[in-house]
């Protein structure tokens, strides 16, 4: 069977099984429903990976035409390289998410919501996501987008009993619709002169767009999809929704639906209507960097675990979009290979983010189920209670903090390196902006380390700070399998970049117009054609330095190179997570052996913690998450602008201080600058319009008459 057959078959089986799963999980009862949900969902996710994998590794996409609608066109499903990457990632994430959806411990938390409805929504979302990613024409795309949006809203508001939660879902819906409107407008502008609604027709029509129209399409599409992707001016729904969504859904929300916004941006602004001027890419780059910085700042100072992870998702999304923006700038300036490198970095980061964010959210869900609280100020000491989870969560924290040999390191390194290649740009203004955005991303990376050190230390280490009693109804073996699978994926994605990059390259090549493989994965590792940038003498030197060492016994030589400089004087930046992993393991083993041998005569005594001689270290004497991150809050005070709401000092008998109450309120930067002003403006305008609705029939008749007259006048004048 050819790859195409595999793909087609997998897709067909996917739709069949997901629909049956939808029906079965509604029809069955109790634990049968749960098992059906988990089983069918797992198989479907495996099928997604199979379909996408077959397409990616063979390099051949598929195209299926569905129904023909008169007057509009044919609805088609098309799996090309870009789609298959996103489908593969979605499948990768859906597998552990499905296992987690059957988590008994979680269901005990919201016991009175029926699981059967959840199953319907879950499969509905899965189907709509796949259809969205496979959409080959505008109508399919838009219908699937809308379905996905509504299902997201329903899933986020699954536990409707808390009022603040429903407000979060409502904001999500409102912003989603606003974004959708912007996207529809963008498509309308492009399709204005197109022959049909299929993506090929749109691509052809885009070449005739005037500069203003191209800008209009770019901005509307970018910010319209940016709503879903969580970019800065339009992302104020994200922290609220992630916090309000049930813990079994949030991994999907972060790992799958966030990527859909990115897919939209790549599809519209990268593929169909490629950005023509570098300024468009600059907009994307700047917005991405600002998003990353704002996201991580709020993540660092947040003490609710889920909200912190939501802000961190904003940060990662910003990094991805910054990479995309850099790629667009390079491409518009004619430097195609740097464009390819930047795009590879962005896609790699997208895959990485999905994997480790799902892991972290699942871990956070387990923490909430065990401790009953998400407030990091009240957690602590979980490493004793949940030893396996603490190790896996540590892997997740290390990955997101970009520590080698895990996956975050590779994609962050690639992103920063691609920004450093701004020397190929002609205009000095662009180069300066690239440097500034690079600095912002570096600051983001540093803050991310602070943030996740805080997360891990405050949740797992130390002693228990709150009054909660642990529910040690552990997540079952199947959920642990999901977590371990994600942790291993983090490691593999980090250690085997030389295998991942050629796969990503298949999608990048049509978008950027050049292949990144020769620059990133040197020819003496893969069997592609010799690279002109690497002269034979250089290869010889590199060989003598030991670049080929271990070629026979080490299967994945994870060495990623970036080459700069001229032919006579090539400059190389290299990162080798695989080698560093081996070196690390070797070093640790040698050190462990040396220490054991050197201190054989010594006895290790285990004594109590030293705390200055006090009888017992009480929980209120240990660091809290707020305390740990307060320096960041103080340094970036201009961003946070906290309002001191209450600062009262109570005393008894004038001099004896009994209590100091301090309460601080912070409004999010984006809320302050965008949401509240826009909301106020809309309210003002609505109040203005409300004056028209006073209920007098005569006035309404006058309005209709007036409107008719104006129409007639316009008709006359045109």
């Amino acid at each position: 069977m050819s790859a195409r057959d595999w793909t087609n078959g997998a897709l067909a089986l996917f739709f069949l099984l997901s629909l049956s799963g939808l029906v079965l999980s509604k029809a069955l009862r109790g634990s049968h429903s749960r098992r059906a949900l988990v089983a069918f969902s797992c198989v479907c996710s495996v099928l997604m990976m199979l379909a996408a994998g077959a397409a990616l590794f063979s390099g051949q996409g598929v195209e299926v035409s569905l129904w023909k609608i008169a007057g509009v066109g044919t609805l088609t499903l098309r799996l090309d390289m870009l789609s298959s990457i996103f489908v593969f990632t979605a499948g990768l994430v859906y597998l552990p998410a499905s296992l987690y959806a059957g988590n008994l411990a979680q269901w005990r938390l919201y016991g009175h919501y029926p699981l059967r409805n959840y199953g319907v929504l879950h499969f509905g979302l899965m189907i709509s996501v796949v259809v969205l990613l496979l959409a080959g024409d505008t109508l399919t795309f838009l219908i699937a987008w809308e379905c996905m949006s509504i299902l997201c809203y329903l899933l986020v508001n699954y536990e409707q009993s808390h009022r603040s939660d429903t407000r979060a879902g409502y904001i999500l819906l409102a912003m989603g619709e606003a974004g959708f409107l912007a996207v529809v407008l963008a498509f309308l502008i492009v399709g204005h002169g197109a022959t049909g609604w299929s993506f090929e027709a749109l691509a052809a029509a885009s070449k005739q767009l005037s500069s203003k129209a191209a800008w209009g399409v770019f901005l509307l599409g970018f910010f319209g999809f940016g709503v879903k992707a969580g970019l800065v001016p339009v992302n104020f729904w994200l922290p609220r929704s992630y916090t309000a969504a049930p813990s079994i859904f949030v991994p999907v929300l972060a790992g799958v639906t966030l990527n859909l916004g990115l897919y939209g941006i790549l599809r519209l602004n990268g593929d169909l209507v490629p950005a023509q001027s570098p300024a468009m890419g600059m907009v994307a780059l700047i917005v991405g960097s600002a998003t990353a910085l704002v996201g991580i700042l709020y993540a660092t100072t947040e003490s609710d675990l889920k909200t912190m992870l939501a802000h961190s998702s904003i940060e990662n999304s910003g990094i991805i979009v910054a990479g995309v923006g850099a790629s667009l700038v390079f491409r518009a300036s004619g430097a195609l290979v740097p464009a390819a490198i930047a795009m590879v970095a962005a896609l790699y980061h997208m895959v990485n983010h999905s994997v480790y964010k799902t892991l972290l959210f699942q871990g956070a869900g387990d923490i909430e189920a065990t401790a009953g609280t998400r407030d990091m100020d009240r957690l602590g000491g979980l490493a004793r209670l949940l030893p396996v989870l603490s190790v896996i969560f540590l892997v997740g924290c290390l990955s997101i903090a970009a520590v080698p040999p895990f996956n975050g390191f590779v994609s962050e390194w690639l992103t920063l390196q691609s920004l450093l290649r701004s020397a190929v740009l002609a205009s000095p203004g662009e180069r300066i902006l690239f440097a500034l955005c690079g600095a912002a991303l570096a600051l983001t990376a540093a803050l991310a380390v602070t943030c996740f050190v805080k997360v891990y230390a405050m949740s797992f280490l130390g002693i228990r700070r709150g009054q909660w009693q642990p529910h040690t109804s552990a997540s079952g073996g199947q959920a642990r399998f999901g977590l371990a699978y994600l942790a291993i994926a983090c490691l593999l994605l980090g250690v085997l970049p030389t295998y991942i990059i050629p796969v990503l390259n298949r999608a990048v090549e049509p978008l950027a117009g050049a292949s990144a493989v020769e620059s990133l994965v040197p020819p003496f590792f893969t069997a592609t054609a010799a690279n002109q940038e690497l002269p034979p003498a250089f290869l010889e030197d590199f060989h003598n330095l030991g670049a080929q060492s271990g070629r026979r016994w080490m299967p994945g030589r994870g060495l990623v190179l970036l080459v700069r400089g001229s032919e006579r004087n090539p400059v190389v930046f290299a990162a080798s997570p695989a080698y560093s992993l081996i070196a690390l393991a070797l070093f640790l083993t040698v050190a462990w052996i040396a220490v054991r041998r050197g201190t054989r005569k010594r006895k290790v005594a285990r004594k109590e913690l030293w705390a200055g001689g006090i009888p017992r270290l009480l929980p209120q004497m240990t660091y809290t998450a707020t305390g740990f991150s307060n320096p960041v809050r103080v340094v970036f005070q201009a961003v946070f602008r906290p309002n001191i709401v209450e600062d009262t000092r109570e005393t008894v008998a004038v001099h004896f201080r009994t209590a100091i109450h301090r309460k601080r309120e912070e409004t999010h930067l984006v809320d302050r600058l965008v949401f509240h002003p826009v909301g106020d403006a809309v309210s003002w305008f609505a109040r203005l319009l409300a004056r028209m609705h006073h209920g007098r029939l005569n006035a309404y008749v006058a309005y209709s008459l007036g409107f008719l007259l104006i129409l007639l006048l316009l008709y006359r004048l045109s």
């Binding site: 100020d377 017992r616 209120q620 809290t624 998450a625 305390g627 809050r633 004896f656 201080r657 100091i660």
Partner: protein, 545 residues
């Protein structure tokens, strides 16, 4: 820097006659006035305990008296409480209250006289006598974590417990003890510091620094880790043994405290100190003050990590210690004071050596102060560190250099002269800012004044005896007061018929000033904490006794 001249001091004088008139007007039926004994100028016997807070308020706020201390005695059938106030320029005023032996509580005056807060807490812990209306009793000297409820170690039955074989109180740390935390911010925590801390040579203190992460909102000290029950040990001992205790409970002010105790005994037994003895006492007391201030200055420089200045100040301190040892045979003046004068005399050559060392030290301090004035990084750290406003200083009755740096100009050498100080010409420095730099300036200025006083004392030294004849005089009650380097100290003794000590009450300046420390340590940065501690220069051992 303002310096209180004699004229200004007399302007703050409280006239006893006017005071008596005011008391008659306000409290006519409740009080009876009489001349006090044993150093007390005016004794006010209060008949109605309920008027105690009003009387305290009148004396402290309206009449302008300063707070001295609370002396509690458990006599045969009743409690004798004596609230001592200082009427500057006139002497000590005492409010005597006697309540029946089976009474459990007394009205608290701490709502009016805030400086009495800790005095009442101490009495409650050690005697079990409660004070109505006091905001917080308990967990003071006898830490709740260790000591069971209801132990009142200073009461009569416990006299037998003061014996090596009978230390039988079994203590187990109370597992349910929680500290009293004041900051109610959700993310706040309390960082524990101590009792064993400070990288070497800090005294045993415990602090809970309540913070929300970047700066400390409040720091509450927990003292009395060094409580050795000096007052209890002194009971049933002879005067000479009591003298040893007075010297050694706070040895960096050993001469001052032994002088205070000796003066109390001298007053009780009517002993005269000859002229030469008085002058030498003044010289040695000022030498101790000079050395103590040099040490405090070294600590302040060390706390800001200005190591060169700390080393230079350390050199001055060590040279003064060596000079002290060369003259008297002991670096900290142990064994010099005795009731009646000094234990030995010094020859002219030795005193000349001393004068030379003192002049050299004063010159070195001048140079050091000048250098510090030009070191902006140092000034940045001590300025605005631990501010105590003049109002707060008056409110909490801060004593010594700390009080004077916040505008409280009381100095016992001037306001209630003892030991011949009325014959000397010296100035009492005063500042208004109340921050660390003001305290440092006051320390320097006092050191120079001390050097001047030593010169004056040694200048007109006539040969003669240094000690009057020591005749045990039977029973008596007396108050001895002295301006120790840290502030005003009171030693109150009741001697029995056989000349043994029946009650020894020790009121130290550090005990008063540690209460004021709470005010200075609100809302400061972590790094300022050792600086505030050093500029206050308080002694935990003097407080804990």
């Amino acid at each position: 820097m303002s310096v209180t001249t004699s004229a200004e001091a007399s302007a703050e004088r409280v006239d006893l006659g006017l005071l008596a008139v005011g008391l008659e007007e306000r409290f006519a039926l409740s009080v009876s006035l009489a001349r006090g004994e044993g150093g007390i100028a005016l004794s006010i016997t209060l008949r109605e305990a309920s008027r105690l807070p009003a009387l305290g308020k009148f004396l402290f706020w309206e009449a302008g008296c300063s707070w001295g201390g609370l002396i509690v005695e458990e006599l045969e059938a009743h409690w004798r409480l004596s609230y001592v106030f200082l009427a500057p320029g006139s002497g000590w005023v005492e409010v005597l209250l006697e309540i029946p032996g089976n009474a459990h509580s007394v009205p608290s005056i701490s709502a009016e006289v805030h400086a009495a807060d800790w005095h009442e807490r101490e009495v409650e812990d050690l005697f079990g006598l409660s004070f109505e209306g006091h905001p917080r009793l308990g967990d003071f000297i006898l830490h709740d974590q260790l000591w069971p409820e209801g132990v009142a170690p200073h009461r009569k039955p416990h006299r037998k417990a003061v014996d090596a074989q009978q230390a039988q109180l079994r203590h187990r740390p109370n597992p349910d003890w929680q500290p009293l935390l004041v900051v109610k911010d959700p993310g706040s925590f309390a960082m524990p510091v101590g009792p064993v801390y400070e990288g070497g040579t800090g005294e045993s203190l415990h602090f809970l620094l309540e913070t929300v992460g970047e700066d400390v909102v409040r720091a509450a000290p927990r003292l009395f880790y060094k409580f050795r029950a000096v007052e209890k040990i002194a009971e049933e001992r002879g005067v000479m043994e009591g003298l040893l205790l007075a010297e050694r409970f706070a040895a960096t002010s050993a001469f001052a405290h032994s002088m205070g105790f000796s003066m109390a005994v001298e007053r009780a037994w009517n002993l005269e100190v000859p002229e030469r003895g008085q002058r030498l006492r003044v010289a040695l007391a000022e030498l101790e003050r000079l050395r103590h201030h040099a040490g405090t200055i070294a600590d302040i420089c060390g706390s800001t990590a200005l190591e060169v200045a700390a080393s230079q100040a350390g050199i001055i301190e060590e040279e003064l210690l060596r000079a002290s040892c060369g003259l008297t045979g002991h670096r900290y003046f142990f064994g010099l004071n005795t009731p009646g004068g000094l234990t030995r005399d010094f020859d002219g050559a030795g005193l000349k050596e001393l004068q030379k060392s003192v002049s050299k030290a004063a010159r070195s301090l001048h140079r050091l102060e000048e250098r510090l004035y030009f070191t902006s990084s140092f000034l940045d750290r001590v300025e605005d560190a631990g501010v105590v406003t003049p109002e707060k200083a008056r409110d909490l009755n801060l004593l010594g250099p700390v009080g004077r740096a916040s505008g409280q100009g009381h100095d016992l050498r001037r306001d209630c002269a003892y030991g011949g100080y009325e014959n000397y010409d010296f100035a009492v420095p005063r500042e208004k800012e109340g921050d660390g730099y003001a305290r440092l300036r006051v320390l320097f200025e006092e050191a120079y004044q001390s050097a001047g006083l030593i010169g004056q004392a040694l200048e007109h030294l006539e040969p003669g005896a240094v000690c009057g004849p020591l005749r045990a005089g039977g029973s008596g009650v007396a108050l001895g007061w002295v301006e120790a380097p840290i502030g005003a100290a009171l030693h109150w003794v009741r001697l029995g018929d056989s000349g043994r000590i029946e009650r020894y009450r020790l009121i130290t300046p550090s005990f008063n000033n540690w209460l004021g420390f709470h005010v200075a340590v609100e809302d400061f940065a972590f790094q300022d904490f050792p600086i505030i501690l050093a500029t206050f220069g308080l002694s935990a051992t003097e407080c804990d006794r």
